[in-house]
């Protein structure tokens, strides 16, 4: 009798990274470059411009300590959720001056509907809303924890 060890497939639509800088613009740049390396976006500079413009419509920080931003664009090839964790905290234009320690970038291809992009954003924002969920991710910053946390996000 042969025994095979089956390991779960890696979810390529999610990834986690450590954010190196303190500024919002630098963090967005790092996230977009990571998405480009995943071959999820073309014209990364346009995606970055779009994300910076989105920040000018109103900060994407949600409550204390986290921000959820995203783009629904023809520049996006494949759906991807990137979560950046900053141990030093990010200066993210939050009311009250709190630093942001978790940033999620939700990328949805232009061929998907806008409704799908909203549903993906709502799912990510909902998953990160509770402090204990965010703390879980800060305590165990790995893709397995992230996958468990974001399992409800539509692909």
């Amino acid at each position: 009798m042969a025994i095979a060890e089956i390991s779960p497939l890696t979810d390529t639509s999610l990834d986690l990274l450590e954010l190196r800088h303190r500024r919002r613009e630098s963090a967005l740049h790092q996230l977009v470059q990571c998405a480009f390396e995943h071959q999820a976006v073309r014209h990364p500079e346009l995606v970055e411009t779009s994300l910076l413009r989105r920040e000018r419509l109103g900060s994407t920080a949600l409550g204390r300590g986290h921000a959820v931003t995203g783009a629904w664009s023809w520049c996006v090839h494949a759906p991807l959720v990137l979560v950046g964790v900053s141990s030093r905290g990010l200066d993210w234009d939050v009311a009250g001056g709190h630093d942001v320690s978790i940033v999620a970038l939700v990328l949805t291809p232009g061929e998907s509907t806008e409704e799908m992009h909203f549903r993906r954003l709502e799912a990510v924002a909902g998953a990160l809303r509770l402090q204990r969920q965010r703390q879980r991710l800060l305590d165990h910053p790995d893709v397995a924890t992230l996958s468990a946390l974001l399992r409800e996000v539509p692909r």
Binding site: H43, T49, R53, S73, W74, F118
Partner: protein, 113 residues
């Protein structure tokens, strides 16, 4: 910046402006916990961007934007992802060329993969 990149940027900017211009979308953002305000600076940026784009293509883009809500569409396997029309082989640009094209079915500007 190429013409294709210019229209891609314009398309993304129009998407953002649509978020604050439509009460239903704005309400949805607010329910998620975001606070979005008016964007006069983005409107000015749009004007600056459109000044740099070819007038003829811009008119076609704006006509499709008004009709469908999106003025740009991608092509995958010769199919326009806006109207699902299979485009003739002759409509495809030569490999490596990045030029603007128009969908014969819906009139959207096409972004060939």
């Amino acid at each position: 910046m190429t013409a294709v990149e210019g229209f891609l940027e314009l398309h993304d900017l129009d998407n953002l402006l649509a978020q604050v211009g439509d009460p239903a979308r704005l309400g949805r953002w607010r329910r998620m916990g975001y606070s979005l305000g008016p964007a006069p600076a983005l409107v000015k940026e749009r004007e600056k961007l459109t000044d740099r784009l070819d007038r003829r293509w811009l008119n076609l883009y704006e006509r499709s934007l008004g009709r469908y809500g999106r003025g740009l569409s991608a092509v995958r396997n010769r199919v326009c992802l806006g109207c699902r029309l299979t485009l003739p082989t002759s409509a495809a640009p030569p490999p490596g060329e990045t030029q603007l094209h128009l969908c014969e079915g819906c009139g959207r500007l096409l972004l060939w993969d």
